[in-house]
């Protein structure tokens, strides 16, 4: 992974931190000559579109009109905004050269008092700076791949962030710790763009979610809420977990307790913020926690690398770290009043998007629990699938579904044929080429709407179609949606009178479930080429019991022969929406 540093001051200390930090993602870092911000953005040294860029500038150098404010002279605010827009235009132009650009918001050193009590009035420097940062954020709001990072938060987290001595010695205004912090933040931002954010928090209960041991004191004796500083701290920790849930992060429990006792506490304690329905799954028993976490992850169809485990007990933390090294187990403070802030400052949950599906993800898992209950009472898997009344809606990629599609493409590991990672712009550009098709699939059943959960893209050459992306969220894996997607693509290709369709499997550490699906798909498999092939003179049948809905945009496309699907292969038939 490559990162270019672009600045009007010396960023070599940051470069040194980044290149000597072995944590993932490992970066190769180059610096443009400092002071050459506009040339470096307009004509970057690289033509490799996979590079990331960090742009960190001083407000008075990018916006000369602001320099007048620092000199306590009258500021022409129109000129100030015009200079700012010029900078934003250059950034927007530069996004064609980079995969993503991170821009650090402007800050001022604390010793810059400006006009003291008038600093946030009239043309006070702090007021002008707030205006400039806000205007820059607005200019970049819809840029897709440009992210404005909050530099002020970095400064506030470190005492004495600015160092005049460093400025005079090295032409860098900050002390080294700022660059160390910045390095961690930039890595977190890159991880977020790469879709490496964590998806599940597994928490312990006693002395983690609440104060006390529920098995000893009963739920009435727990320290939670009330006029008790420690009880309030536990409620705030639960509130912080709830805020993660609202961002689409799932919650689960791994606790050594009697299940009935712990669930009663969750359900009945009047100040409990998190109730049983807030948890996607739990293992409350006396078994090994590492084994419990492995089971939880399997139940939720996630990978261990998506998991954070929080426990007040250092022995349990050490055990999970040792047994499950892919799980992120943060050191946890002894001081309970630091629980909420420790959780909120973690960067591993950062994501470049928040979509409607994120906010309602835990409801989808609650629906999945109901499906599982139904699975236990019906006699066969086929009967169970039929009873779900699954509906799959097919859409072309468009402005309303692109953000979610890119998120799905970049976050999905298990059912992912080629594990392509693309930005919104890259995906749009890819799709606009002739002979390429990209569909997204929405899935719902009688228990709930799982939202946009599938992607299939094709590249057609001569009389052959190659499946480029075959992506399905773990939420709906194993419900024959996979077969429905392939059948839809096969039918489309038959309509074009193509001869064959193939899928080249690109193995990763995490996409074995995808290989398993293709091995059972009915396609012939060439082991040498890792290629699955279907000859289109045979009909690839739709799975029984799944209704395919085709959006209006697709219906106008004459190559969708929806009337050709027989009731024997698709008893539910096609239905436009």
């Amino acid at each position: 992974m490559k990162l270019q540093l672009i600045s009007d001051f010396n960023l070599e200390t940051l470069q040194r931190y980044l290149v000597n930090d072995a944590s993932s993602p490992k970066l190769s870092v180059t610096s443009a000559p400092f002071g050459q911000v506009f040339p470096a953005l307009l004509q970057p040294a690289t033509t490799d579109h996979s590079d990331f860029a960090l742009v960190w500038t001083s407000p008075e150098k990018i916006v000369p009109a602001f320099a007048a404010a620092l000199d306590q002279t009258a500021v022409d605010e129109n000129r100030m905004m015009s200079e700012l827009r010029q900078f934003a235009d250059v950034l927007l132009h530069a996004k064609q050269h980079f995969r993503s650009i991170f821009v650090v918001s402007w800050t001022l050193p604390p010793h810059q008092r400006g006009n003291g009590i008038l600093s946030l009035k009239g043309q006070g420097i702090r007021k002008l700076l707030l205006k400039m940062n806000l205007a820059l954020a607005e200019e970049l709001e819809n840029s897709g791949s440009i992210y404005l990072l909050d530099g002020q938060r970095w400064m506030e987290s470190i005492g004495n962030s600015y160092s005049p001595k460093m400025w005079y010695l090295t032409k860098a205004p900050f002390q080294a710790e700022v660059f160390r912090r910045a390095g961690a933040e930039v890595k977190a931002a890159i991880s977020a763009v790469l879709g490496e954010s964590k998806k599940l928090v597994v928490v312990d209960l006693d002395n983690t979610l609440w104060g006390g041991v529920v098995g000893d004191v009963g739920w009435g004796g727990l320290r939670l809420g009330g006029h008790d500083y420690r009880g309030e701290a536990f409620v705030d920790f639960q509130r912080a977990l709830k805020s993660l849930q609202n961002r689409g992060i799932l919650l689960a429990i791994a606790s050594r307790n009697e299940e009935s006792v712990a669930l009663e506490a969750l359900a009945k304690h009047p100040e409990m913020l998190l109730r049983p329905s807030d948890f996607a799954a739990w293992r409350i028993n006396w078994n090994d926690k590492a084994a419990n976490i492995a089971e939880l992850v399997a139940e939720l169809n996630l990978g261990l690398q998506s998991v954070v485990f929080i426990d007040d007990n250092p022995v349990e933390r050490a055990r999970v770290r040792e047994a499950l090294p892919e799980v992120f187990v943060p050191e946890w403070p002894e001081d309970k009043t630091l629980y909420a802030s420790s959780l909120l400052e973690m960067s591993c949950f950062d994501s470049p998007y928040v979509t409607g599906e994120d906010a309602s993800r835990h409801h989808m898992y609650a629906a999945e629990k109901e499906r599982e209950q139904l699975r236990r009472i019906v006699s066969s898997a086929d009967e169970w699938l039929l009873s779900l009344e699954t509906e799959v809606t097919v859409e072309e990629l468009n402005d309303t579904n692109r953000v979610r599609a890119v998120q799905l493409l970049n976050k999905t590991n298990q059912m992912n044929l080629s594990t392509r990672r693309l930005t919104e712009l890259e995906l749009q550009a890819w799709q606009q080429q002739n002979q390429r098709k990209l569909w997204v699939f929405r899935v719902k059943d009688k228990f709930g709407d799982s939202g946009l959960t599938g992607i299939l893209s094709l590249e057609i050459e001569s009389n052959t179609a190659r499946i480029v992306d075959f992506v399905l969220s773990c939420r709906v894996m194993g419900r024959k949606v996979e077969q429905a997607m392939v059948a839809f693509a096969a039918q489309y290709c038959s309509g074009l009178r193509l001869r064959e369709m193939h899928a080249d499997y690109l193995p990763t550490e995490k996409n074995k479930p995808c290989f398993g699906f293709w091995m059972s798909s009915g396609f012939s498999y060439d082991e040498k080429e890792n290629r699955f092939t279907w000859l289109l003179d045979q009909v690839y049948g739709f799975p029984r019991g799944i209704q395919i809905d085709i959006s209006d945009g697709l219906k106008s496309d004459t190559v969708y022969p929806n009337e050709t699907v027989s009731s024997s292969t698709n008893p539910a038939g096609h239905r436009g929406i």
């Binding site: 070599e12 040194r16 931190y17 000597n20 930090d21 001595k165 460093m166 090295t170 080294a176």
Partner: protein
């Protein structure tokens, strides 16, 4: 690298020189994070910092100075300026080794105590 002999100068459970060395070692820990493994500095009085045989360039030395000044301020309760004599000059000796720096800091502290600074 062999440690240089350190002669205690106080009886409060350690020496001022030892205390200052420990502050400098903390700075070395902080600085080493930005250095490649092969250029990291040993926490030893004999470690060469700057000049011939040293691993720090001028940017590394600048970072080291600012980190150390901050830690010394926390330790002593007053600010210490390690750049009063040009640290990059070939004739300046106190950044040569960890030990020479610690001795220089002790001298500055003694002058300060005596009211000379």
């Amino acid at each position: 690298m062999a440690d240089l002999p350190i002669k205690p100068t106080s009886t409060n459970g350690g020496s001022k020189l030892t205390d200052v060395l420990n502050v400098i070692y903390e700075s070395i820990s902080d600085l080493n994070v930005q250095l490649p493994a092969e250029r990291r500095i040993d926490k030893s009085p004999a470690s060469v910092l700057f000049g011939e045989g040293g691993t720090l360039d001028s940017l590394g030395l600048s970072n080291f100075i600012v980190i150390t000044e901050q830690k010394l301020q926390e330790f002593f309760g007053f600010s210490v300026d390690l750049t009063d004599d040009d640290p990059f000059s070939p004739t300046t000796g106190h950044f040569r080794t960890v030990h020479s720096l610690a001795s220089y800091v002790c001298e500055l502290a003694e002058k300060r105590s005596a009211g000379a600074l």
